[in-house]
Every structure is written in structure tokens, then in C-alpha cells.
């Protein structure tokens, strides 16, 4: 077949050839939005249907961790909260995005392997799968919010007006975990033993992220380096919204750049690997 032959024949609805999915990708993603809704709905439904614990778990886990962190950092290590809020409230405001991030990362990094039967039998833009698994964690975040409200009441601490900006930070947390999750899940298809590393990343992340303490205790000199952890900006943002703590805008901008970078890398790598998912999985 000569190269000159025009393949862009308008009378065909679909042309399948090597490298062709690239071109239809974003259009297809929109066309398959219904599948995205229904897969998210399935993940949520399955998670909360089977066990009462499913729902309770998203309350118990952050609550217990918060209690432990408050005791360890506030009572034992005698750290102070530079803001006005009680220490436990500060910990919980940081726990919300962190819990979301770590859940989303674990869920999305295993999402492709977990849906292998779909991938080998039906076509759809594969990005739907990790995306819908992140949505499940968003519901968990919503449930955990109930505790936040309870804590406001318990400590007689009124939320800050900044709370109206919270959706922006939730979106950032979503994009951050989605970007990294995309990368990890694609790697996970290629190297199956990678899944053992993921819990370690999450565990390690907890220590280098200001969940149990305020990011203000990091000196001004190292602040830029600390901000390379994208969760730093997000957690600061959550505390700013929920508690009216001081916001470190410069480190927040760094976080945005890092998040964009991760997102770009995640999408780029995922798209590159996507073509061979069905063959490798």
C-alpha cells in the first residue's frame, strides 16, 4: 500500500490501525463518560454494600490515627500548633487530605490489575479505571468530614470563612493522587512485583508529610525543599481553609508546579503504556 493513499476517508466511522487510538482518545474519553459514572458507582456501591465496616472504617481509621498523633506529637514531643486551633483539630485537618491521598493511591495503583477482565474483553479509554477508583476515595473523604464537623462542635471552634475555597484544594488533592496513581498503575501492569513497593511509599510519605505536626516547624531555609512534597501545599491549604491557619503561598505555588508535573508524567506514561495493557495484563 502506498503511503500516499488517503486514509482519512470521511465515509468511515472508525479506522483501526497502529497508533490510531492516539487521535480519538480525548473524544472517546468524553463518549465513555457514562461508563466512568457507572464504574465509579460500582466501586462505591461494592465498597459500602458488603460490610457495615466499609463505611465505619472511613471514620474509625482517621479518628484513631488522629488520637495517636495528637498524643505522640502534642503530649510526648511537646510540639505546639502555631495557629489558634487545638492540636487535635490541626492533626485531623491534615489527616483528611492525607487519608484521601493514601487511599486513592493504593486503590488506583491496583485498579488496572483488579479490572484485568474488563481490559482484555472490552474497549474503552483505560484512564477511566484509575479515575473511578480515585472517586471512591473522594466518598471516603466526604464521610470523614462528618468527624470534622463533630470536632468543630466538641472544641467549640468555628470554621474559618476560607472554607469556601476548600473545593479548590480537594481538586488539587484529586489531581495529585490521580497523576501519581496513573503512573503507578501503569508500572504495576508491567512489573507485577511493584505492588509491594506501594504500601512502602505511602508509609514513608506519612513521615515526610506534615500530618501530625504543622509545616511551620520546618525552617524557612528548607521550606522550598520541603514543598517539593506536593502534599505539603495541599495540607497547608486544608488547614488554611478549615482552621484559618497561616498559608505559605510560596510553597503552595511550588506544590502546584509539582502536581502539574506529576499529572503530566502520569498521563504521558499511562498513554504510552496503554496500548499494550491488553497484551501484558
Amino acid at each position: 500500500m502506498s503511503k500516499a493513499e488517503p486514509l482519512e476517508d470521511k465515509s468511515w466511522d472508525l479506522i483501526i490501525e497502529s497508533g490510531r487510538t492516539e487521535r480519538n482518545y480525548w473524544r472517546d474519553l468524553w463518549r465513555f463518560r457514562e461508563l466512568f459514572y457507572i464504574l465509579s458507582w460500582r466501586d462505591i456501591k461494592v465498597r459500602y454494600k458488603q460490610t457495615f465496616i466499609g463505611g465505619a472504617w472511613s471514620i474509625i481509621r482517621p479518628l484513631l490515627t488522629t488520637i495517636i498523633f495528637t498524643i505522640v506529637f502534642s503530649r510526648i514531643a511537646k510540639l505546639q500548633n502555631p495557629g489558634a486551633a487545638p492540636y487535635a483539630l490541626m492533626v485531623f485537618a491534615g489527616m483528611l487530605p492525607w487519608q484521601f491521598f493514601s487511599n486513592a493511591l493504593s486503590e488506583s495503583s491496583n485498579s488496572l490489575i483488579g479490572n484485568a477482565n474488563l481490559i482484555t474483553k472490552v474497549y474503552f479509554p483505560r484512564m477511566i479505571i484509575p479515575a473511578s477508583s480515585v472517586i471512591t476515595s473522594l466518598v471516603d473523604l466526604g464521610i470523614s468530614f462528618i468527624i470534622m464537623i463533630g470536632m468543630y462542635i466538641w472544641y467549640h471552634y468555628p470554621p474559618s470563612w476560607n472554607i469556601i475555597f476548600l473545593p479548590v484544594f480537594i481538586l488539587l488533592a484529586f489531581l495529585c493522587s490521580f497523576g501519581i496513581g496513573l503512573y503507578l498503575t501503569a508500572v504495576n501492569v508491567k512489573y507485577r512485583d511493584f505492588k509491594y513497593i506501594i504500601p512502602f511509599i505511602v508509609q514513608f510519605g506519612l513521615y515526610i508529610t506534615p500530618v501530625g505536626f504543622s509545616s511551620s516547624i520546618i525552617g524557612e531555609k528548607w521550606r522550598w525543599l520541603y514543598s517539593l512534597n506536593p502534599m505539603v501545599g495541599i495540607i497547608d491549604g486544608f488547614r488554611w481553609c478549615l482552621l484559618g491557619d497561616q498559608m505559605h503561598w510560596n510553597s503552595f505555588y511550588i506544590s502546584i508546579i509539582i502536581i502539574s508535573l506529576f499529572l503530566w508524567l502520569g498521563i504521558y506514561y499511562f498513554r504510552k503504556m496503554e496500548r499494550t495493557f491488553a497484551d501484558n495484563i
Binding site: I16, G19, K121, Y123, D193, N280
Partner: protein, 419 residues
């Protein structure tokens, strides 16, 4: 009518690894290999991975399908059927070549793809429908029909993990059957389910294509189904399309390849319950190589048989029979024709080499039956019906046009000018 699917030079290759069974890598393997290479003195020699091999699952496949056609795809396991369907359903990309399609394709490569055991029948209808490409509106429109077809109304709100396997399959097929795509791609999915339900499904598929004008591509190992359901069939063999015709013709071709394929040679075990038996038989060319491809009309070939006689037989006789492609006997030969009497044989091994004179048969396919008989005790007869199949091809050396008939003979015409 114009084509709805056009497949051009479609090829798909896989890199297969001989290192292990797993088709995915582990990070550990990759790291240890890199480490080994790093420390290896012969690094440059290690560049080519000897454990990798390219395998063409499909090679230069071309065909067209018109609207409303029901096309069966047949071939043995590993012939490339599933790869073809996967490319058509866009699950995997071709390595080269292209497919052009008009309209929406829905593929049913598995019954109940994405069914979740924890969800109820109702929920799974919506889930599976969305996975197969239906919108929620479409599913709602067909919801009652689906439930009706699956016969599960009582269990609609039961999790499907409590369903019997029959109910599960019925529900899954019911959803798929109510898809409304222009092109329906169906893999071997009817192998499950009871006979009655299979009939119902086939009826539905027939209805979909005949009455609604949809195009159906159908893979099955059930040749009977292909024959009744499809109006055309294609045969794949080792990744190539070797036949594209009416189902009965393609099926007979398929039968030929499955029964034959390099098997014009058999060796049998000793059977001491018989007084005489065939021990070994083969169909060979003049250089003693087994006939494994078409024979040219002028080519000479031989039937070589070894008989083993276990007990003395007074009246033994040996026969072979040749049938044409329609299984009509066109020739029956008996050794007694040589001298007009039966053979008496002592225990031992006997061999014969029968020359099939050339030219004898016209272009076509032939089935060969061989046998040896004890005329006094018929239960000793040993007959191998249609044991060999061979194809005679037209070399175009003699012929100016294709000749009808089974026999091909060149006669002495004694053609003279008389006046």
C-alpha cells in the same frame, strides 16, 4: 451493497518470551538482568535477548464484510481468531494494516464481562450494559425485555453471586442480545448454557441480523451453528486467511485441514485379537516423502502399507477405496483383481507399494480408505475409513481451462488428417 467492514493487510505480532511462563515482567528480573549485564565482561554479546521471539498472530489478512452479512470465523486454537476479534473490538492494536468500519461495533467476547458478584441482577444489567457500550437510556428502554429474556424476574434484586450458573449466563446474554449496534462481534460464548437457551440465543442472533439488518461476526467451534447461522465464513490458519466462501465450503476445507495436516502417515499398535492388521500406512511421493500438500495432476504418488499377519489366513484380501470431496466412492481397488484369487498368508510382516498412476484424478480433494480382510472370519477385518486425505492441484501444464469430473486421463486421440 457497500462494505461495512474493510480489513486490509492486517497483521499483529507478539514478542514471546521463552524465559518463563509469565507474560509479564517483574521489576526484580529486570534489575537482576541489568545488574548482570553491568558486571558482565561480554556485555556487547548480551544485547540480543535469545529468549525473545517474534510471533505473528495475524499475517496479511484481507477481507470485506457487507451490511447484514453473518460471517463465521473458524480455525483451530491459535489460528488468530481471537486476535482478530480483539483488534476489531479495539482491545489491542494491530502491528500493521488497518480496518475501516462503518457504524458502532459492540463486541461480546465473554459472557457477563464486568459482572460484579456482590451486585444484584438489576444493578448488573446497568453495569454490564454500560460496559458493552449502551447508554443508560437504552438500557432502561430494554430493561423489561432483558429481564424477560433472561427469565430472572424473581431474582432481580438478589446478588448475582447467589445465581445458578445458568441464570448467570442467561442474564449476561440477555443484556448483550439487546445491544443495538450496527456490527455485533461475538466470540465463542454460546458454549455455556443449556441446549434450550442456546437455541433461544441463536434465534435472537438470527433475528438481529436477518430482520434488523445488523452485521454479525461470529466465532465458534460449533460448525453446525456456523453453517445454519452464517451466510459466509472465513477460515484462519496460523494467522493467515486461507478461505473466504460460503459456510459449507469453508467448513469442508476446515475439516480437511483438521483431519489431515501432515498426517498422511499412521503407525498402529499390534492388535493380537485380530489375525491380520494394518501396521503402518503412508501416502508418499516418488522421493518417499509424505504427501503433505497438494499433488500436481501429473505427479506420481504411492500408497505404502505394512500388514502384520498374526495367524495363518487362507483367504486374505486387501483393498483400498477413494472417495471424492462429496464422499462418493469413485474407485474401489482389490488386490484379488491381479490374479483373480484370494491370498493365503503365513504369520509375518507384509509390505506393499501401490503406485497411483498419473495422471488419474482431476483437481479436487479425495479421501482414501484402506483395509485388509479375512474372508473366512469377518470380525478380523481391519478397515481404516478415510484415513488419508489428499488434494490434487491443477498445475496448468496441460490444461487450457478447468475440466469437470473426477478422472483425469490423457488419451491417445489418433488424430489424423483424413482428407
Amino acid at each position: 451493497m457497500s462494505s461495512i467492514i474493510e480489513v486490509r493487510n492486517l497483521s499483529k505480532s507478539y514478542i514471546i518470551s521463552h524465559e518463563g511462563k509469565a507474560h509479564y515482567k517483574t521489576l526484580r528480573d529486570v534489575m537482576t538482568r541489568h545488574a548482570k549485564n553491568f558486571f558482565s565482561v561480554h556485555r556487547t554479546l548480551n544485547n540480543q535477548d535469545p529468549g525473545k521471539e517474534e510471533f505473528w498472530a495475524l499475517k496479511d489478512v484481507n477481507f470485506e464484510i457487507k451490511q447484514g452479512e453473518r460471517v463465521g470465523i473458524i480455525g483451530r486454537n491459535g489460528a488468530g481468531k481471537s486476535t482478530l476479534l480483539k483488534i476489531l473490538s479495539r482491545i489491542t492494536e494491530p502491528t500493521s494494516g488497518n480496518i475501516k468500519i462503518k457504524g458502532r461495533v459492540a463486541s461480546l467476547l465473554e459472557v457477563g464481562t464486568g459482572f460484579h458478584p456482590e451486585l444484584s441482577g438489576r444493578e448488573n444489567i446497568f453495569l454490564n450494559g454500560a460496559i458493552l457500550g449502551m447508554t443508560r437510556l437504552e438500557i432502561k428502554k430494554h430493561f423489561d425485555e432483558i429481564v424477560d429474556f433472561a427469565e430472572i424476574e424473581k431474582f432481580l434484586d438478589t446478588p448475582v453471586k447467589r445465581y445458578s450458573s445458568g441464570m448467570y449466563v442467561r442474564l449476561a446474554f440477555a443484556v448483550a442480545a439487546h445491544l443495538e449496534p450496527e456490527i455485533l462481534v461475538v466470540d465463542e460464548v454460546l458454549a455455556v448454557g443449556d441446549a434450550e437457551f442456546q437455541k433461544k440465543c441463536l434465534g435472537k442472533m438470527e433475528d438481529v441480523s436477518k430482520n434488523q439488518g445488523r452485521t454479525v461476526l461470529f466465532v465458534s467451534h460449533n460448525l453446525g451453528v456456523i453453517n445454519t447461522l452464517c451466510n459466509r465464513a472465513v477460515l484462519l490458519k496460523n494467522g493467515s486467511l486461507i478461505s473466504n466462501d460460503t459456510p459449507d465450503k469453508v467448513i469442508s476445507e476446515y475439516m480437511y485441514y483438521t483431519t489431515n495436516e501432515g498426517h498422511n502417515h499412521i503407525i498402529l499398535e499390534d492388535d493380537l485379537s485380530k489375525s491380520i492388521q494394518i501396521k503402518e500406512a503412508k501416502l508418499v511421493l516418488e522421493d518417499d516423502s509424505i504427501v503433505d500438500s497438494a499433488i500436481d495432476i501429473p505427479e506420481k504418488y504411492f500408497l505404502k502399507i505394512l500388514f502384520k499377519v498374526h495367524k495363518f489366513i487362507r483367504n486374505a484380501h486387501f483393498t483400498f477405496e477413494i472417495k471424492d470431496a462429496e464422499h462418493r466412492v469413485i474407485l474401489f481397488a482389490d488386490k484379488t483383481d491381479e490374479k483373480g484369487s484370494y491370498e493365503s498368508v503365513l504369520p509375518g510382516l507384509y509390505g506393499c507399494k501401490i503406485e497411483i498412476p498419473n495422471p488419474l484424478f482431476n483437481k479436487g480433494r479425495y479421501y482414501l480408505t484402506i483395509g485388509c480382510m479375512d474372508n473366512d472370519e469377518e470380525e478380523n477385518n481391519h478397515v481404516l475409513p478415510d484415513v488419508f486425505t489428499f488434494e490434487v492441484a491443477d498445475s496448468k501444464r496441460f490444461r487450457t481451462y478447468p475440466r469437470p469430473g473426477n478422472v483425469f486421463k490423457i488419451f491417445n486421440w489418433n488424430f489424423n488428417r483424413i482428407n
